[in-house]
């Protein structure tokens, strides 16, 4: 790659400081912005640029269906992440159980693992021949597996909630770690019950972290691909999966490019929301981005 050939040192004299940014920027331009520009170009059709393909794709039922599923899954999974993340963080930080530290560290490592692993695990747990169904069939002597939600939108939502909850918990736990415990003690000595303390003290204090973590979750769930691919439900098609199936299975690159442009635009919009949220609340960055 071009960048490995460049080994001189950055940042020498202040007056030419600006020029040092050129090599990495050039690498990024050739390897990222140029390809990105080409899919925008390709989405307008092969020859004379026209909006015909755009119109055709954007009004097709497959695209609208994909967009609908993408939004529903992303919003539901993000809501799930916020609720689950808030509850788990509260307990880890303020009602610590033996091994809570370890649990916190486990959350950190979940972030580093690939997302589709959880889908694979879900097949063994909630699949038609999985742990849960077998147990229920044994206990209630049923002939057919009673639980059947994995290969639907709910399976995707549950998997994404599991995978992305740590992204909410990380900033939350960081906030709670610097939180002045005396506030809680004063409140409870004045007679406030735990639920009231949560509602009036902890929830407002954790709002920046919740907004930062939540908007990051929204961005990541809109773009999630592995989980949806692994679940492989026929009627759960999201935008990234639609791009994949158009390009790789149908070789229809122009349509794939149009959908990719929409997906990138949506994603960049959510990313600006995330940056704005961080700038506005001055919260910590929720880990990765």
């Amino acid at each position: 790659m071009a960048d490995t050939a460049l080994t001189a040192a950055p940042a020498q004299r202040p007056n030419i400081d600006g020029l040092w940014v050129v090599p990495p920027l050039l690498v990024l331009a050739v390897l990222f912005f140029y390809p990105l520009g080409l899919i925008v170009r390709a989405s307008f059709g092969e020859d004379a640029p026209s909006l015909a393909t755009f119109e055709q794709v954007l009004t097709s039922s497959r695209f609208l269906d994909g967009l609908y599923h993408t939004v529903v899954i992303a919003v539901s999974a993000t809501a799930g992440c916020i609720v689950l993340g808030f509850v788990l963080s509260l307990v880890i930080a303020f009602v610590p159980f033996p091994g809570a530290k370890l649990a916190g560290r486990l959350i950190d490592t979940v972030i580093a693992l690939p997302t589709f692993l959880v889908t694979l695990a879900f097949t063994f747990i909630y699949g038609s021949a999985g742990l849960l169904n077998e147990t229920l069939m044994h206990v209630f002597s049923l002939d057919l597996p009673p639980i059947d939600f994995l290969y639907s939108q709910w399976g995707v939502i549950l998997a994404e909630t599991t995978v992305y909850t740590p992204f909410v918990m990380r900033p939350l736990l960081a906030t709670f770690a610097t939180f002045d415990q005396a506030q809680i003690e004063v409140a409870s000595s004045l007679g406030a019950r735990p639920l009231r303390i949560i509602r009036q003290i902890l929830l407002p204090a954790s709002l920046p972290a919740l907004v930062a973590g939540g908007s990051l979750c929204l961005l990541l769930t809109v773009n999630e691909f592995g989980i949806v691919l692994f679940i492989g439900a026929k009627d759960v098609i999201t935008l990234p999966l639609l791009i994949y199936s158009k390009a790789i299975q149908e070789f229809d690159y122009t349509t794939a490019c149009v959908i990719a442009v929409v997906n990138v635009a949506l994603s960049l919009g959510l990313y600006s929301l995330y940056r704005l949220a961080i700038a506005h609340f001055g919260g910590r960055r929720a880990g990765l981005v």
């Binding site: 790659m1 490995t4 040192a9 950055p10 940042a11 020498q12 400081d17 040092w20 940014v21 990495p24 920027l25 990024l28 050739v30 390897l31 990222f32 140029y34 390809p35 990105l36 899919i39 509850v87 788990l88 303020f94 009602v95 159980f97 486990l106 580093a112 693992l113 690939p114 589709f116 692993l117 694979l120 695990a121 879900f122 097949t123 063994f124 747990i125 021949a129 742990l131 077998e134 147990t135 599991t162 809680i184 409870s188 735990p194 691909f225 692994f230 990234p240 791009i243 994949y244 390009a247 690159y253 490019c257 990719a260 997906n263 990138v264 994603s267 960049l268 960055r285 990765l288 981005v289």
Partner: protein
């Protein structure tokens, strides 16, 4: 302490500890268990076997493991070089130009991986860059997807290292390159190691872009796991998933120990 009365505290634990175990413990447990099972028709698997592991290390799964490790190391090294360079170059800048450039280096993290794969496929299937069908296109895809994370991590590290060491070095007459090599980079080392291990982990698990661009001769572990689970070989898929998880964890833990050592020194 939020909950003072003992029964309520126990109730809170009784609710959340099982929840935690079901949500995070159980998935890990079943994947590891499935790797050793010959059959799983009952509540628990039967015919415990090592055949999946022997298959993982003797068939083309082993090539996938090697491809993934190599891709992870090469892409992370390139991203580390590029990200550190960019972070150092932007460090001295001020004003709107810095904000714009900073945003440019972060944008790859905001673009869906499948779209990055498609973009690379469209761009590098025609002159002047004919890379489609080569290993390079996989490396480039991984490099792009992790570059923002390395840049972000190194930038965060640069903001945290004390400025006075560098000022002392400068006042003692150290030249910029000498100062960078002997003062800035050693101070930055823990963050560089952290950035590298994060990008390595991300690269090991990358699926969206890889599945768009991979050539037949360079199948990475996630792609292989998908192929196996797609054709119903879920025990083999679970075995490879365990190996992927363990390999990632080992590298992360090893590097984090290294960075703690560097911090102490």
């Amino acid at each position: 302490m939020l909950v003072w009365s003992k029964p309520w505290r126990l109730a809170a634990w009784a609710l959340t500890v099982p929840l935690f175990l079901v949500v995070y413990g159980l998935p890990v447990g079943v994947i590891v268990l499935a790797g050793f099972s010959g059959q799983w028709n009952d509540i628990l698997p039967s015919n415990m076997t090592l055949v999946h592991y022997s298959r993982a290390f003797h068939t083309d799964s082993y090539d996938a493991l090697k491809a993934s490790l190599l891709t992870g190391v090469l892409a992370s090294a390139a991203a580390l070089l590029c990200g550190t360079w960019a972070a150092l170059a932007l460090r001295g800048m001020r004003g709107p130009s810095k904000r714009v450039l900073d945003l440019l280096f972060f944008i790859p993290s905001a673009v869906p991986s499948v779209s990055v794969g498609l973009a690379l496929l469209v761009a590098f299937s025609k002159p002047p860059f004919l890379l489609n069908g080569t290993t390079w296109i996989v490396l480039i895809a991984h490099f792009i997807l992790i570059s923002a994370f390395t840049y972000g991590n190194v930038t965060a590290g640069l903001a945290r290292i004390p400025a006075d060491c560098e000022q002392v070095a400068e006042s003692l007459g150290a030249r910029p390159f000498y100062r960078l090599r002997r003062v800035t980079l050693p101070l930055l080392l823990p963050y560089l190691v952290g950035a590298f291990s994060l990008s390595f982990a991300l690269s090991m698990g990358e699926l969206g872009a890889t599945v768009m661009v991979y050539p037949p001769g360079w199948v990475t572990l996630p792609v292989k796991i998908f192929a196996l689970s797609d054709r119903g070989a879920i025990f083999d898929a679970a075995t490879l998933a365990t190996i992927l998880g363990v390999a990632t964890m080992v590298v992360l833990l090893g590097l984090s120990r290294l960075s703690t050592k560097a911090m102490v020194r």
